[in-house]
């Protein structure tokens, strides 16, 4: 390889990581964030603060309440006197189980008993989960108290493949890992180019005896390298938190390489439209924010309106998320991975050509 490029790449790398704060941002931040998100996040329904409103002599409800608290989903709170509705409104309880006013036993004898469950539904997804669990607890209780005629005849037996224990880290890490790599590489690339432009050093660079394509390579390759250095770091975190690596490592490496090349090209493209760093930041934000939302990591893409689901087809991050989830959790089915890699590579190629074209225009 020619020494100009190697020198250029070395200069870029030194410039990118000589500041310890920048090193922290590139190497430490993704690891820390991945650790936090992998351990903290869970869409599971846990710690529902449940209060019970019943007559003190209602033994059936008392046993039912004990079963609720023993289930592991609910924790007891005793908000004292007053209107159960107010307990929820004031946030003292998240849900209140209100027994039939005359007592459960008497209500059942008259055959029209009904409990009421008041659920705080500010988070509608969680509220639905709370209701599902509550129904399950009541059904189990009735069964154990032999109050159901016959055995239950039908149920769905649900198995979550690839994550049978519902481990939070396994759910969250493969996706967030992709987000980290995306964030780091796009921002670095777009900002470095814009910085040269803003400080006027780009002109100097172009006037120097380096060919334009050498500048282009010198401004992209280092960030691909930095992104690839991040890969083993985040993979180690993933494995430490119990995420399996079922696909071949070389394929994970290759996919990440293609993805990082794509994001770096996009970063370069974004910077070619920016006069200064501020504009580069805003435009990379305008790219990164929607890509994260349309990646399928936080929100399901299937539920989005058609127009948006359609836009998501042009999101390289979306393909990368599918590939990494597959390679970590499922295995190395080439038939499933290759089409996604191809789509990602195609988007990357378009971005690169476009960026190259824009760069040539800058020169003229």
């Amino acid at each position: 390889m020619n020494p100009t490029i190697i020198g250029f790449i070395r200069k870029e790398l030194i410039q990118a990581i000589r500041d310890p704060r920048a090193r922290g941002m590139i190497f430490v931040m993704p690891v820390v964030q991945l650790l936090i998100f992998g351990v903290a996040l869970s869409s599971e329904i846990r710690n529902v603060r449940l209060a019970v409103s019943a007559r003190p002599d209602d033994a059936f409800t008392q046993r039912l309440a004990d079963r609720f608290y023993a289930s592991g989903w609910f924790i007891p709170v005793t908000p004292g006197e007053g209107d159960p509705f107010d307990w929820v409104r004031s946030g003292r309880a998240e849900a209140v189980l209100v027994a039939p006013p005359e007592g459960a036993a008497r209500a059942m004898a008259r055959d029209k008993g009904s409990y009421q469950l008041l659920v705080d539904s500010l988070n509608s997804v969680r509220a639905r989960g709370v209701e599902t669990y509550a129904q399950a607890v009541l059904a189990e209780h009735l069964r154990d108290e032999h109050l159901l005629s016959g055995t239950p005849t039908f149920r769905f037996s649900t198995r979550v493949l690839y994550n049978p224990t519902g481990d939070t880290a396994i759910f969250m890490i493969p996706g967030t890992l992709c987000l980290m790599l995306c964030l780091v590489t796009i921002i670095l690339t777009s900002m470095s180019m814009a910085m040269e432009r803003e400080r006027g050093t780009l002109e100097t660079l172009l006037a120097a005896p380096v060919a334009p394509w050498e500048v282009l390579l010198g401004k992209t390759v280092p960030y691909v390298i930095l992104g690839m250095i991040d890969l083993p770091l985040v993979l180690i975190v993933a494995v430490a938190l119990g995420v399996p690596v079922r696909g071949p490592l070389w394929l994970i490496g290759l996919s990440t390489f293609i993805f990082v090349c794509t994001t770096v090209s996009i970063g370069f493209l974004v910077s070619s439209y920016a006069k200064d760093q501020q504009q580069a930041m805003l435009s990379s934000f305008l790219f990164v924010f929607p890509s994260i939302q349309l990646s399928g990591v936080i929100f399901p893409i299937e539920n989005m309106p058609h127009a948006l689901a359609w836009i998501a087809w042009f999101n390289p991050l979306r393909y990368f998320v599918i590939v990494i989830r597959h390679l970590l959790l499922k295995g190395g089915d080439l038939g499933a991975v290759l089409p996604n890699l191809a789509a990602m590579a195609a988007l990357g190629a378009v971005a690169l050509c476009w960026a190259g074209y824009r760069f040539r225009q800058t020169l003229n």
């Binding site: 903290a40 493949l161 305008l286 299937e302």
Partner: protein, 372 residues
């Protein structure tokens, strides 16, 4: 030396900053246009109702009852139902990214059900896609009773549980998402903007010049923040209008408290942005820090989607230093819950405390070392 704070000098800094903003259309577009665009975009995009999930059905029974089960599930409108040849084929399809869930009905399902024996229909979910797996399993669990009644005509249990979903009786996704998303969008953009503008002054060296004038650091801080607060406040009002008019989200609380909470939230995020810019003093780094400490944690740790109650205790504590967490409670309550003032005192004072802490840090760092 003159007093620590002089409103007149702060005003002149604010006036200078306003000129900057007026001269630079980008800032204006970002602070007013972007929040509106993003709220519209994500208000329509984010939906937690199960819809068109690819479901593979392997019916090994081919009885009237198994067909009825499939019909009930398809009629729910939540799934794109496709046939699979066998249970193994369905599981393989999930492994090859060709479906998100599978329903497997074993041979003898109908016969045993008619004989009154307990039977199961097996459901496989693609656990690699956490965003879908959770809502599908929750839907199936809640549909189980209805399916059972339809298939077996089972008698009603002696006592039932009727759920009242308070504050969002229809469990409308928009009511859940919209008050949350503008916390995120506005919080992000306001901290971003301050991080950018102040870091820019440092990088260009104009901050040194400013500091050598009689203006005190506190006045610079206040003067620089005020115009952005005004801008972001305007953005919040726009977003409020959208939430009410476009998404039909009710607002049951007091507008006065909402305005107060919003101002406090803005002050907190802006002083956070200020700390970032004072610490980094360089645009690239400031931007990266703002994105890393802003975008992901605000979205994932503020209780927006992932409930704080479900986090391990340590992380529940950690989330307390995020202004967005407190504003999230405030907006959701104010929109949907018609809270008393006393219920909001906690979050409001938390926002106040955080603002004070961030301001103090920024002020300290401004004062002590002027050389980066």
């Amino acid at each position: 030396m003159s007093s620590v704070f002089d409103a007149r000098r702060a005003m002149s800094i604010a006036r200078k900053e306003t000129w900057h903003i007026r001269r630079d259309p980008v800032t204006l577009i970002v602070s007013l246009g972007l929040p509106v665009l993003l709220v519209l975009f994500f208000g329509f995009a984010i939906n937690f109702d199960v819809k068109s999930v690819d479901l593979l059905v392997a019916d090994g029974d081919h009885s009237r009852i198994s067909r009825e089960l499939i019909e009930v599930v398809s009629a729910s409108g939540y799934f794109n139902v496709r046939r699979a040849a066998s249970a193994a084929a369905a599981a393989d399809a999930l492994g090859a990214e060709k479906g998100k869930a599978a329903l497997i009905i074993e041979t003898g399902f109908g016969r045993e059900l008619r004989a009154g024996k307990p039977v199961e229909a097996q459901v496989l979910l693609d656990g690699a896609d956490n965003s879908n797996a959770g809502i599908v399993s929750s839907y199936l669990a809640s549909a189980e009773g209805a399916v059972r009644a339809r298939l077996t005509g089972a008698s009603a249990p002696p006592v039932t549980l009727r759920t009242r979903f308070l504050f969002n009786p229809e469990l409308d996704s928009h009511w859940f998402v919209v008050p949350g998303i503008f916390v995120i969008v506005v919080g992000l953009i306001s901290s971003l903007l301050t991080a950018l503008t102040v870091a820019r002054e440092w990088e260009n060296g104009s901050m040194e010049i400013l500091l050598s004038t009689p203006v005190r650091p506190l006045e610079i801080i206040a003067g620089k923040l005020a115009p952005y607060m005004a801008l972001s406040f305007a953005a919040i009002m726009l977003v409020y209008g959208l939430a009410r008019l476009v998404f039909g989200v009710p607002f049951l609380g007091s507008h006065l408290i909402f305005a107060l909470a919003t101002l406090l939230f803005l002050a907190a995020t802006m002083s956070q942005g200020l700390v970032i810019s004072v610490v980094t003093r360089q645009q690239q780094l400031a931007f990266q820090t703002a994105m890393n400490t802003g975008m992901m944690p605000i979205q994932l740790l503020s209780g927006f989607i992932f409930p704080i109650e479900s986090m391990p205790a340590l992380f529940q504590w950690i989330t307390m230093i995020l202004p967005a967490r407190w504003y999230m409670i405030l907006t959701r309550s104010l929109f949907l819950r018609a809270p008393d003032f006393s219920m909001l005192l906690g979050p409001l004072s938390a926002l106040m405390g955080l603002t004070a802490v961030f301001m103090l840090i920024a002020w300290r760092m401004f004062k002590t070392d002027l050389e980066p």
